[in-house]
Symmetry: D2
Subunit: 359 residues, 4 copies
Amino acid sequence: MAGNSIGEIFRITTFGESHGEAIGVVLDGCPAGLHIDLAFLQQELDRRKPGQSSITTSRKENEQFRIISGVFEQKSTGAPIAILIPNEDAKSSDYEQIKEIYRPSHADYTFDAKYGIRDYRGGGRSSARETAARVVAGAIAKLLLKHYHINVTAYVSEIGKIKCSTEYSLLNLADTEKSLVRCPDKTVSDAMIKSIEKAKKEGDSLGGIIKCIVSGMPAGLGEPVFDKLHADIGKAVLSINAVKGFEYGSGFAGTKMKGSEHNDTFTNQNGKVVTTTNYSGGIQGGISNGMDFYCNVAFKPTATIAHLQQSVDKKGNQVEVAVKGRHDPCVIPRAVPIVEAMIALTIADHLLRNKTTRL
Amino acid sequence: MAGNSIGEIFRITTFGESHGEAIGVVLDGCPAGLHIDLAFLQQELDRRKPGQSSITTSRKENEQFRIISGVFEQKSTGAPIAILIPNEDAKSSDYEQIKEIYRPSHADYTFDAKYGIRDYRGGGRSSARETAARVVAGAIAKLLLKHYHINVTAYVSEIGKIKCSTEYSLLNLADTEKSLVRCPDKTVSDAMIKSIEKAKKEGDSLGGIIKCIVSGMPAGLGEPVFDKLHADIGKAVLSINAVKGFEYGSGFAGTKMKGSEHNDTFTNQNGKVVTTTNYSGGIQGGISNGMDFYCNVAFKPTATIAHLQQSVDKKGNQVEVAVKGRHDPCVIPRAVPIVEAMIALTIADHLLRNKTTRL
Amino acid sequence: MAGNSIGEIFRITTFGESHGEAIGVVLDGCPAGLHIDLAFLQQELDRRKPGQSSITTSRKENEQFRIISGVFEQKSTGAPIAILIPNEDAKSSDYEQIKEIYRPSHADYTFDAKYGIRDYRGGGRSSARETAARVVAGAIAKLLLKHYHINVTAYVSEIGKIKCSTEYSLLNLADTEKSLVRCPDKTVSDAMIKSIEKAKKEGDSLGGIIKCIVSGMPAGLGEPVFDKLHADIGKAVLSINAVKGFEYGSGFAGTKMKGSEHNDTFTNQNGKVVTTTNYSGGIQGGISNGMDFYCNVAFKPTATIAHLQQSVDKKGNQVEVAVKGRHDPCVIPRAVPIVEAMIALTIADHLLRNKTTRL
Amino acid sequence: MAGNSIGEIFRITTFGESHGEAIGVVLDGCPAGLHIDLAFLQQELDRRKPGQSSITTSRKENEQFRIISGVFEQKSTGAPIAILIPNEDAKSSDYEQIKEIYRPSHADYTFDAKYGIRDYRGGGRSSARETAARVVAGAIAKLLLKHYHINVTAYVSEIGKIKCSTEYSLLNLADTEKSLVRCPDKTVSDAMIKSIEKAKKEGDSLGGIIKCIVSGMPAGLGEPVFDKLHADIGKAVLSINAVKGFEYGSGFAGTKMKGSEHNDTFTNQNGKVVTTTNYSGGIQGGISNGMDFYCNVAFKPTATIAHLQQSVDKKGNQVEVAVKGRHDPCVIPRAVPIVEAMIALTIADHLLRNKTTRL
């Protein structure tokens, strides 16, 4: 009931603070017999880690994970899978300065307001470091989905005002990982990199949008009326740090269409029911229809900037904040595997839930 | 685990199909001692019901509710509150025609794909009629929130391409109910009505956007890291029929701002910590900070239109669908109380959850 | 989270008070496609209803149920199944006398202490009338179990000091329903009836023990380490009014055996792994092994007696209580279908849960 | 939904196998601001650990725990508390012998039947080693209960056929820890020790009964109708390895009493409502009434014995099993802190749940 778990059957609980001994995750409900590919888990973690390139933070988090339980002879046993990712390179002293001060648009004030106590070191529990735990669990979800031929892929479609307008089906998504900013369109990618470098120089930060596509979806996933597939996916991605919005299928733009334009006509394609357009984003009535699911996730610009800012301290005094530390001018590229992880976890959960639907 | 419940402590379970005997809801976890104002419940239901005006469906649903349990001498007792809303005016025969046919962008196909059986009469469980149960439960949530001086208000900000661009704080939200389309700006409201009348004549439908504001919020609501307040609200509204997107605070537009523009500066206002801007939408790190919460909810154009459409039947044959029945060219105005209900339910739940946070 | 739901996938929520309009239940998670045999549901309800014979209360509860939703053309659709059982013959005036008084060993005091408000009419929510809702939902669980060839049967093995010592495998359980007290051993049954008649004359009440056997169990049900099959069954039966104890397999008597006597030897019976004894009660490590599950459930003597009793009222004054009303001197025979229902519900839930265990 | 979590608000998830790197627990929902007394946690763990005395196993488990998260400057922060207890002295080779063989009355066969894969080393997930994680989490629950002046104490009341018949209120429970078998009655304790020594010599094992008392209970805990306080406690203790039965208050013996004997008369004691007897065990209608809660928990004799036993292997062949390893002839004394832990966890959860009951 406390909020550190998500999923009903394929269910994760994360724990750990930015500057504690480790962060970690317990995954309960992974079906027994799944081959756990350790190299793949590491690879997914590496996609999220800081210090990947010149445009990310120079802070080094060496994401070495250890599986504590639930895997035997490289297979899931049905027991809970606990994974630890030790924290390294934690410079707590960087944070002494903000012990008594509320950084603008950070969670410092709200954590104090809620709990009356706060592990201020590096943002503590509210640090995005927690998302490493999501990524490693999401990698296991992806392994399960692969078994069912379901594929989850995301890329950066917007950074600040730079936008990749090409429809996803016309992009070569295999190129995403070749781009420093994880945008598969080379021209747009270059423009994005420049804008991030500019923001970095200015001590400022940028937001952006990540698009995620799920292909190979079976029909039938989603549990009306509240646990509709897109509602659970929406919650899962909205729980990621800095996310401000979620839309799927035609999304906000679809509100401007007429019903006669927006309706997706069914047709019979070699014995399979498909739609000729896909404004529905692969979901009707909260249940997948077998077409691609796709969605956009909006990230605000990172709150941590180098500028001197006005704020208050714990006692309510007006103060100026100058956050030192080492931070990303734009976290969106590193958020790509996090979005994929949260969506993979949600679909894995619904795959299992759907196994109990019919006699 | 099946998807017909939402909320952890203040928790509802809805049941019922469009053309069955009744729809209803069980609310478990309402604190004992709350005065249940029956007139208010009726008033909220009336805001949602069809046949309110010339621009909505002529279908009549007389929303007479009955409280079956959990209320004694007009107060909640702590026992589950069950409420029934009998179905009337159900013309099942209208639906015989679509028994074997999948209406485009409806849930007919996906329900069959998932369950292998479908109560086709009036959309059955996937009908928006189910939302009446949400509204009556949401009315009880509002009564609880009123006790804590929290107020949830929504209005229609866009219908199709007609948009109310005025910031919500400059509108007189008390005017919302005076407008047939629930837009408090008279000029925009008139334009919206015209566009709906046009769509009605064309046998077409329109989508739109609802904005919801929560004022009087205490600081401290929300349960990181997954049950962040906005994540749970997002799921709650995404579970409403026809919703395609959700954004809060600066939302998608915020992705185009720089951190230095977007950060909300804290200041001390007569001893209370407030922010000078509110791009955060009243939430930081998933926890409310005491400022207004506000969000936009995107609705697609209604799938039910008068046009002749191509589709397939259960056997996979290509067919033409002409849906008779009586339907709304635009459901957005009637969805205003539904959005309010889902958000009120979510905040009521988090209010109670937060009672256990500190020693 | 409030306590009126049980089960994870096959999940029921009950509602209603003794003297309100109706009691009822919502069953969410019943697999689609199950034939709902209405006559069987009625038959199960009739086994629980009062006024069955000279030894039960003369109070008449006509258990006419109505299915409100979730069943279409006599099959479950996957939507929540709501069932109402209207209350009749409710003489609230009988209870005016105890409005301000705490009856000994009833829930009057504790409900007031917890909720600060109490629907005192007929015990309100704490009345055993609520168990009718469990029985009708349990009947659906039994229909699901029959599909898997699992059979749940209970009988009365002890009333007060009268005991049926014959091992269950030597009894003809088909005779249970022929006995007024639901004990399949004719001689013991007669002695039990006499002891109940005596208690009735004395205005006193008796307790007893119900034994329940589940045959046809598949191996593999139960979810370690907390949701062990017997732990969930134990909770389910302990939640029945008046239950004071639960034991399964060798139970309390098994504590006096040595390991060498108690261990159940495995053997191969025509290719199936079975045990030669069954002290384990069909469960090892919390998971069913395919042998019979069996358990004992202890019921205290009914708290409602005709005797004049000492107590206190709401203001703390010493008072004398004389409860009129019409009550059972011994509820154990009527509790047999309730025990079966709670166990059937739990096993149905675990059957579905187990579907997600392996890749 | 997988079974490795228990509790609704104060909720634990355990993980880890007997011979893996570590076992551990995540406690989510501990209120912020609780002083975490590390010495007390260690002391509780030490009460459970093997090798405490001549009558327990010589196997050494050095229960050194590490808090990974959720505690800052010795206080709970409201974030999940993760605790690791590394495994030491793991002789996996001892278990190669039982890799393919199903030990009688162990969970070897059922784990294989359920999951199709089994970490056979030391019983893997079904090992009682998992209970160390419960004990350390239970110690935190006890710290919370102490804050509310609630005290949970258990002792061994029976070992095999040796019984302590003195009523608990006449015993000096402070003497429990002075006894090797945790029985506060010196004479009975000595007899128990002798019987265990005899069983050890014979290569056999003994069962027994643990009684647990909770004093200082507030009135109002428990959530009807399913999450009655005793039902949740019952489930919690039934989930402990080797438990076969649970009774509270008058329990099974109460079934032989008449209502007029069994009813607990209310009286006013200096302004507090109390009962003159306590057959109810401090609970009426599933809600605590402020009197002591007390219960008995039945443990079967340990399945691991030195005798040569008949069984089958994975292929269904008849085999003889001779389990070497180092095991306890009687685990009951070491189970005392486990019973206390599970009951403390359940009451802590209900304390928090009850905070949301009233307006």
